[in-house]
Each structure stands twice: as C-alpha cells, then as structure tokens.
C-alpha cells in the first residue's frame, strides 16, 4: 500500500514517525529484544509508547485494552507481544494456536494477514499465520484443525464454528492470546455477545489466556475494559488500559454554500458543485453519506458534474461483494480521486491516500463523525481534514454542534445492554455440539462473559430448556429432544443432524429478505449488480426508474428472488423512500443543538440564512428552551397542527407519534397523521389539542405503549431476529427458489400463536428485552417526558412558525404513519371506487 506523503511503500499496520515516539526515553526500547530493535532501526522507526506499554502488559501476563486513534500503529501494538513471544520460541509441548485475532470484518482479516507477513518475513520468524473465514476452502479448514497455525485470523462466527468441534480443546488448549480488533464496533451488539461467550469458552480451554482489545477512541473506556475482563466489572484491575495520545486535532470545515440553503430534505444536491470543487483540489476524498439512496443520488450528481473525468467510485452495502472489493482495492492503490460511501466503509483498514473526508448530511453523532474522519489515514502529527455538508437548516445546527463536540472530545455512547438470550441459546447448542457439558459448570462459564455477568440462573435454565425441548409448557416434545441427559446429569446432543443444522445457521447477523438486482430482460439475464431489501423492490412498479450501483435503471419486474432491471434512457429517477441505514440523532448531539438554539450569542457563527431564520422564529414565536418543551399549535388548510420540539431523534419521535395519535383519538380530536424528524414531531388533527400537560403526560408510556408494542411491526421484526438467532426458525436462504408453497416458516404466525398461548416463553421475554432495552429510544422518550413535566411551553399561533416550516415540508415526502392496516386497505379500496365511478381520488396532503 503506497503512502502519498513520502512516497515510501510500507504496510499500513506499521508505526509512523511521530512526535510522541521521538519523546520516548531510550531505556524503554530495551524492552524490545535485539532482533526487533534492529528491525525497527532498519526501518528508520521507533516504537510508539503505547506499543511498548502493550508489550509490558503482556510480559506481566495481563490482558490489555488499547484505545488509539487511527494511524497510531494499533494493530502492530496488538501483535507485537505475540511476535516477540513467538520469536523467543514455543515449547515443544505447545501445539495449537498461539494467538487468535478476531475482527468484525472478513476483509480486515485478509488485509491484516497480508500486513503481518512482511514483519514475519523480515524478522525471519518461524511463524505460521493464516486466516479462516466463511470464504476459506473446506480442505484448508480441515488442515487448520489437524495442524493449527501459530496465528489464526478470523471472525466471531468462524470462531463459534471452530468451538463447536470436538477437537476444540486440542486446537485452543495452548492459546496464549486473543486479539479483538475494532472492539468498539462489537461490544454493544449481538455479535459481541456471541464473541464474549466464545472468549469465556476459550478461557475454559486455556485458563492462562490473555485478552487484548483494540479500539478507536470511545467515551466509555472502562465499559470496554469491563467487556474484555472475565468479571464484567468496570474496575477490574486485571485489564491494563493503554491510551495512546490523540495526535493533532482534526481540521473540520462546514460548507457554507453559495447556493440558497434548503429548508428541508437530506440530499444536499444544492452543494454538490462545491463538493466537486473540493474533490478536484484533493488527492483522494472519502465522501460519506447516511443512506444508500443518498449514496446513489450523490454519486449520480457528482458524475454529472464530472467534466474532468475524475475516477470516482461508489461503495455501499447493497452492491455486489466483488464490486465493493474492487473499489476498496482501487482506493488502496490510490487509483480513485473520490469514493461515495455509506457506513459500509466506517470500519476497515486505513488508506494512506485519503486526505479529505466529506460528510454529506448531518453526522448524527460525535463518535460516528470522529470515526469517519479517522478513516483518512493521517499521520499523527498532521491534522486530518474534514468537510461537513449540511443538507438543510437544521443540519447546519447539527453540524455546528458536532464540530464543537469533536473539539471538546465529548463522545456519545449508551450504557451496555445485557447479553441476548437468543445468542445464549445458540451458544449452548454450539457447546453441546463440541461435547457433553455439565449445566452448573456452563452457567459459571457463561457468567464470566461480561454481557452475561448478571445472568440469572432462572433465565439460564429456561434457555437451556428451550434448547433441549423447545421450553414449552405443553411438554409435547420430550421424544424430540435436541439435548438428552446422561446418567451423570450432563447434557449431550441427541442427534448428529442437530450439529449439522447448528453449523449451517451459526451467527447473529439476521439479514432482511433481499432480492438480487440483475441487468437484462430475459430469465437468465445479465450482470448481477447487487442486492436490495425486499421492501424496496416491492415499492416499485414496472417502468419505474431508480438509481442503483451508480446507474439509472428501469424496473422490469421480479422473477423469483431476482429484481430484473434494464438501463433507463435518461430522465429523472423516481427514487422511492429508501430509509435503510438511517441513524437517529444521538442524545449528546441533541443536547448541544438545543443549547445552541437557546443562546442567541452563538448564532453569530452561523450562516446568515440560518441566523436570520432563528431571529425570525424568536420574533414570531419563541425558541425551544434547552430545558422543558416548546409545543406550537396553529391552524392550516382546515386542519389543526401541533409541532413539538423534542430533539430526541427520529425513532423516539416515531414512537411518540404513535402514542400521541392514540391519545388524541380517545380525546375525540380526530388525529389524521403525523411526521417525525430527528428534531421535532408534527401531528395534524381535525380539532386542536389544548391541554398539553395531559397530552404529554408520562402515563402514555404505560398501557398504551404495551398495547402498541405488542401489535407493532417493530416487535415482530425483533421476534423474527430472536427466533432466527435462537434457531427456532431458519433464515431464508438466498437463491433458494420458491416452489409454490413457501419454504420458510413465517415468524409472524409463530409470534401470534406463542404470544397468545405462552406469553412468558423465554424467546418472547428475549424479544421484549431486546425491544425495550435495545430500543434506547423508549428510554429517551421516558426521560424526555419526565424532564418536561410541568415545563411545557405552549404557543397557540395564528400560522406556522419559521422553525416548523421544515417539518411541514417533510410531510409530502415522508410516508405517513399512524394509520392502521384496515384504514390503509380501505383507502386503497376507496381510491379504486372513486376511479371506477369517475370521481377524482382525493389523495391530497393536509397542507
């Protein structure tokens, strides 16, 4: 991988010369064996302080958490102790893997492997280093079990699979160290839960095992240390914390566009000429956007402007894997001038060539912004450059708040959630696949995984019963048990076919049903462009044009699991709502935006259009208070509007909208619909709401919420994920043809039956826990309602206020929620009646 800054080619994991290493005391270098010292010297480098600190922790046999910004030689810091140890030689009795590296990305294991080979070669080490992922050929996998390498690079899923083999004790019996990369991206989700259980298992197989975590800068260092520990305790002294210095601060600009700043929308099309200008003046720019639809539009827009024929690429999760890899390789070579990307490029190896990061649309969180800025592989002593491009007026405020957050290094972060019971079920079955287990011993082991350190024995027993017999009150499956018990009370797998099923379905990533996008009209068709979520395809009519993989396509139809498209001949794309991947505003950022609104002193730094807009709001209404809640009501188009400035993020507002309209329905106000943005919620009704204290009373989170949640598609989706992870239903296999009758079991049907007949079943408990706990948005809503109680400021206006304009403009673009299934069905039927009787369908929006 080339480095533009000095023209010297070198692997990305190696350290840079930077001020903090120059300041090192020479005596520290003595910690390095001569061979390594000489190697560093030959390269003209000195080790970073944090690399030596990691070595020291290893010498003391301690686990260690390294928190370092990008470009800090983090990966070498993680591997250096193992390389030193391996250079000193392993004992003849040490067989099996010495160091296990786990990364959330398959591609990362491949890159790290490549980058590790050169020090191994140059240091003349007798170390075998291999990768093992879903892509590894069967023959190589079998050989790896017979003759494990010294260093194995893998993913959480492949680790779970390895642990389910009967020879796992031989493979991992001599394991000295496990390195978890991008720990911040694993510690708060179910993949992390699965990995934590795997680590607990590894610790059982090799009690002396050290754990090493590598993380980007995070708010809660102790939380990550707790995750890495065997106690789950934040203050666990067994884990050394190594914090690398931050290097130079990033230089972040906000694009104050020459064009008029839009009132609403998220596409920032107005700013693209200026973005293109910046790309022209830069070597390589990463252009981050928030959604795939945005990625397609921005890419298309830049392409139109591209008179210089600059090589510009596109990267998002829906594109075919091969195409994504090609783009990644081109960035690594420095062959591209810009790449438009979604969160699909948030993680991964560093690219030396990237010298500008552009964020189009609001950053949504300070940590996320820092992570993205860090993707520019800057040297520690040279500031990385970033450009924020707000797409509308509210986003100007949000960008400003995010920049302040980055400067103050106040990161967002939510408290960790307890480990998922569905993941535990999968782990228990996997454990049984490897061999018989003692329930008490397994319970103790599981509790040594941090996310499960508070697991109740009752929950464990219920999950175990679920794995063994289904866990139903109606004990009808005794003869179909998956686990049986031997005379000593140990559980063992009842049939080899359960092992096969387990191995086919291991993992916690539940994909939404997708369709392959293929070019061509015929059945066999042409090139595969990528995949789209099923619901997106369902929104299209034959003849509709849409943008995908950077091309304007015409939707031809759906053949089995394939979306067939042809190249469209010009014209404007009709991009339907494509909300996938939209993140809500973080609480921390919301607080900053609120504070900014309330402080007119801060407005001077804003673009003229924005500060004038705020002054206008002050004059016509009031500013939303930093504490308390502003609610505006006004009539418009014969309807009564209510706009509440909650700043709790789109998802929380979505829920609030459901609850508010329910309550207004009961109060006879005739709610007609609502729309939620990250900042506000707007509801319109036949009659105006007057008693705001009653409307926003906290008790709406009681019965209403329960009732709504039980029926909501959110809970159904959560149940489907839980049921798939726990092995109750099998994920849909892409490519498997639908043969008249459906091949997969419909999770909705099971949910309805189970909810009615055994509402306390462990998988329903797991679902509710995920939905309520995982939905931090409900928590945000609860906290907001408590905070504003008695402090609601209601302004009854004669017409719409300046601050409310953006959300009203949003109404025409957003799907309207709050309408029940029957009402929509009725609306569709009525429209047909009107059409048939010659009347004009009245699909008008309320403004």
């Amino acid at each position: 991988m080339g480095d533009a800054l000095d023209g010297v080619s070198r692997p990305a994991i190696l350290p840079r010369v930077s001020p903090d290493s120059a300041a090192l005391d020479r005596s520290d270098d003595a910690a390095l064996p001569a061979r390594f010292d000489a190697w560093f010297a030959r390269r003209g480098w000195r080790p970073h302080g944090h690399q030596l600190a990691m070595l020291e922790a290893a010498r003391a046999g301690r686990s260690a958490l390294l928190v370092a910004p990008t470009g800090g030689g983090k990966t070498l810091a993680g591997f250096l102790p193992s390389l030193v140890q391996l250079a000193e030689g392993r004992g003849s009795e040490d067989v099996g893997i010495h160091t296990l590296y786990v990364s959330p990305l398959k591609a990362l294991t491949v890159d790290i492997h490549r980058n590790l080979l050169s020090p191994i070669e140059e240091l003349d080490l007798e170390v075998r280093c291999e990768t093992r992922t879903g892509d590894t050929p069967q023959a190589k996998r079998q050989r790896q079990r017979r003759r494990p390498p010294d260093i194995l690079l893998t993913t959480p899923e492949s680790l779970a699979l390895l642990l389910s083999y009967h020879d796992a004790p031989q493979i991992f019996g001599g394991l000295a160290c496990v390195v978890v990369d991008e720990l911040h991206a694993l510690a708060d989700n179910k993949r992390g839960d699965l990995l934590s259980l795997g680590l607990a298992r590894l610790q059982g197989l090799s009690p002396g095992l050290r754990r090493v975590g590598l993380s980007a800068t995070v708010r809660d260092v102790d939380g990550l240390a707790a995750w890495l520990s065997t106690t789950g305790r934040r203050e666990d002294p067994a884990v050394a914390r190594v914090l690398a210095s931050g290097g130079a601060k990033a230089e972040i600009d906000i694009l104050t566009t020459r064009e008029r700043l839009p009132w609403s929308g998220h596409m920032a099309v107005h700013a693209l000429p200026e973005v293109y200008e910046r790309i022209r003046r830069t070597r390589t720019a990463l252009v981050f956007v928030n959604t795939r639809a945005q990625a397609e539009l921005v890419f298309q827009g830049l392409w139109h402007l591209n008179d210089d024929k600059l090589p510009i690429g596109l990267h998002h999760g829906s594109l075919a894997a091969e195409q994504r890899r090609k783009v990644e390789a081109a960035i690594a070579r420095g062959a591209l001038r810009a790449v438009v990307a979604t969160s699909s490029l948030d993680l991964g190896v560093d690219w030396a060539a990237v010298d500008l990061v552009v964020q189009i649309g609001a950053p949504k969180g300070v940590s996320r912004l820092m992570q993205r800025i860090g993707r520019a592989n800057h040297r520690l002593d040279i500031p990385s450059r970033a450009l924020l491009v707000p797409a509308n007026r509210f986003e100007v405020l949000e960008c400003r708040a995010a920049v302040e957050g980055v400067r103050a290094e106040t990161l967002d972060g939510d408290p960790p959630l307890p480990g998922g019971l569905d993941v535990l079920a999968q782990h228990i079955l996997g454990t049984a696949c490897a061999g018989p287990f003692e329930p008490d011993a397994l319970f103790d082991e599981v509790r040594r995984a941090a996310p499960y350190s508070d697991l109740a024995r009752g929950d464990f027993d219920d999950v175990l019963d679920y794995v063994a017999t289904g866990g139903y009150a109606l004990r009808s499956y005794q003869r179909y048990r998956r686990l049986s018990r031997d005379a000593g009370g140990r559980y063992k797998i009842a049939s080899p076919r359960h092992i096969k099923r387990y191995r086919m379905n291991v993992g916690t990533i539940v994909e939404a049903p997708t369709l392959t996008v293929r070019l061509g009209r015929g059945h066999s068709g042409g090139r595969v462009l990528g995949e789209v979520e099923e619901y997106f395809a369902m929104g299209l009519e034959p003849g509709d044009s849409f943008v995908f993989a950077g091309e304007l396509l015409r939707f031809e139809g759906i053949r089995e699991t394939t979306l067939v498209a042809s190249r469209a001949q010009g014209g404007e794309p009709a991009v339907p709502a494509y909300v996938g991947g939209r993140l809500p505003l973080s609480t921390h950022l919301a607080d900053r935006v609120r504070a900014m609104l309330e402080d007119p002193q801060a407005w001077g730094a804003l673009p003229e259009a924005v500060s004038e807009w705020l002054r206008l709001q002050q004059w016509r209404s009031v500013m939303p208070p930093a504490e308390g809640l502003l609610v505006e009501t006004f009539p418009r188009g014969g309807k009564a509007f209510l706009v509440a400035y909650c700043f709790e993020g789109r998802n929380a507002h979505q829920t609030l909208g459901m609850l508010l309209t329910r309550r207004m329905e009961r109060a006879g106000l005739g709610p007609l619909g609502f729309v939620a943005t990250d900042y506000v919620i707007a509801v319109w009704s036949l009659k105006p709401a007057e008693d705001m204290d009653a409307l926003f009373d906290q008790d709406m989170l009681g019965d209403d919420l329960e009732e709504w949640m039980a029926e909501s598609s959110m809970l159904r989706r959560t149940f489907r994920n839980v049921a798939v992870i726990a092995g109750l239903i099998e994920p849909r296999h892409p490519g498997r043809e639908k043969s008249g009758r459906q091949v997969t079991f419909n999770a909705d049907l099971i949910y309805d039956v189970l909810r009615k007949h055994q509402p306390d079943h462990v998988l329903l408990r797991a679902t509710r826990r995920d939905a309520a706990g995982g939905l931090t948005d409900i928590g945000r809503l609860g906290a907001m309602l408590a905070r504003v109680k008695g402090r609601i400021r209601h302004r009854a206006l004669e017409k719409v206020s300046p601050l409310a304009v953006p959300v009203l403009l949003q109404i025409g673009k957003e799907q309207v929620y709050g309408l029940a299934f029957d009402e929509l069905l009725d609306e569709g039927a009525q429209a047909l009646i009107a059409e048939a009787t010659g009347g004009r369908p009245q699909a008008e929006l309320p403004i």
């Binding site: 017999t469 289904g470 139903y472 109606l474 009808s476 499956y477 179909y480 998956r482 049939s495 076919r497 359960h498 099923r501 619901y535 369902m538 929104g539 759906i558 339907p576 709502a577 109750l728 239903i729 099998e730 008249g740 009758r741 459906q742 079991f745 419909n746 049907l749 099971i750 309805d752 039956v753 189970l754 009615k756 007949h757 055994q758 079943h761 799907q815 309207v816 029940a820 299934f821 029957d822 929509l824 069905l825 009725d826 609306e827 569709g828 039927a829 047909l832 009646i833 048939a836 009787t837």
Partner: protein, 235 residues
C-alpha cells in the same frame, strides 16, 4: 373481466358464487346463511409438531389456536352444518400427535354440528373416528365443494381450498399483504384457516390460471374485509 368484478362490491364481506349469496368471514371461514352452512379450508392441524423430528421445535399451540378460532366462529354463526374442505390434518400422524385437550375440542365440535370432512392431499384419509362424515366432494344446491379446484372441469359453483391464497396491494408506498378469498363469480377459493398456514400470492399462475377472465380478491383486514379487483393487486 366482468363489470361486477371490475369495481369493488359495496358490501365487501359479501360474495356471490353461481347465484348463491355467501359471507366471507374475517376469520377466513365462509358462511352460507340460507343453508346455515359454515365452510373452512386447510386447518393443517399439528403442522407445528410435524417439524419436531427434524429438530425444529416450533410452539406446539397451533392446533389449539386453530380449533379455538373455529369454535368461536361456530358460536357466532350457529350453523347447522360444518364442512372442512380438506387438509384438515397436516399429515397421517397428525391425529396421533394431537394433545388430549385438542382431541376433546374436535369431539365437542363434531358432536354439536352436522360435520363433514372432505379429503385433501395432506389427509387423503381423514380419521373417521372423530365424529362427522368423510367425503371426497359435496354438492349442495348450486355449489360443489372439493379440496382443490380442477382446471379442466367447469368452474360453475366450485368452492375449494388448497392454495392458501393471499394478496398484496400497495397503498402509499406501503405493501399490505393479507389472506383472501378469490372469486370470479363462478368459482371460489377460500383462504387457509390454520394458525400456521402461510400463503401463496393469488397472482401466481397456480391460482390466477384458474380464473382466465380475471377475479376479485377479498382481503381480510383486522376489522373488515376489502374487495380488490385483480388489476389492483401486486406481487
């Protein structure tokens, strides 16, 4: 497509097949008021437990759920006769796997009504010792009841199940899918009644091909049924 099938019927739960006035109930049952006849299709009792031997332990409550719904709809219409259109039992072993409580539920139902089980492909020989008669087909006035529609016979008055029809419509960019009755005024296909029965889109050739002149699908909402012509449906 006839003009009648072209626009939604005013009373949307009502159907007319070969001159007989029928009610499409939201439960998926069909009621024929003048004959006091209640018809249900594809109960698929013990479908859930049929997966257990392979290691997939689905909640074993589907038979209970199905039979409770059937009992509820019987209480509401008080029919003198009940007809099950086949595939009442998911497989040959299903009746043996039924829990004692569910067995009692069936016996109470067959004792209280004049009951007929038609044979289906899943249960070519439905158990005869549960009360009720077993038939292959049944003719009643203008209607003929059988498990599966026959493409090569006249459609007039044929009422069947087997296909588990469901239909999708698009309203405001949202795709809504529901179980449905399908009819062209000559033949009628009932939705599946069983709790674990999935569905087949009515636009699939297997169903659509039975209605060469188009059809109307009556979609079952939560509180009301809605009639849609074929052209308004999506895959």
């Amino acid at each position: 497509m006839s003009a009648a099938a072209e626009s939604p019927a005013p009373d949307q739960g009502a159907l007319e097949v070969n001159g007989a006035g029928l009610i499409a109930d939201l439960s998926g049952a069909l009621y024929w008021p003048t004959r006091r006849l209640l018809v249900v299709a594809d109960l698929h009792l013990e479908k859930g437990s049929s997966y257990a031997p392979s290691g997939q332990l689905l909640p074993p409550y589907d038979s209970t759920a199905t039979l409770e719904r059937l009992a509820t709809v019987c209480r509401r219409y008080r029919p003198s006769r009940v007809l099950c259109l086949g595939d009442s039992f998911h497989d040959g072993e299903a009746s043996a796997r039924l829990a004692a409580e569910d067995r009692a539920r069936i016996e109470a139902l067959t004792a209280a009504h004049d009951w007929t089980w038609l044979c289906g492909n899943h249960d070519p020989e439905p158990p005869a010792d549960w009360g009720g008669r077993v038939e292959r087909e049944l003719v009643e006035g203008p209607l003929l009841f059988r498990h599966e529609a026959l493409a090569d016979r006249p459609a007039a008055g044929e009422v069947s199940g087997h296909f588990h029809p469901k239909a999708s419509v698009k309203v405001r960019f949202r795709r809504l899918t529901a179980r449905c009755f399908v009819t062209d005024g000559r033949r009628l296909i009932l939705p599946a009644f069983g709790a674990y029965t999935g569905g087949l889109n009515v636009l699939e050739p297997a169903i659509a091909g039975l209605f060469p002149r188009g059809f109307q699908a009556t979609l079952l909402g939560k509180r009301q049924a809605f009639a849609y012509p074929k052209r308004a449906l999506v895959f």
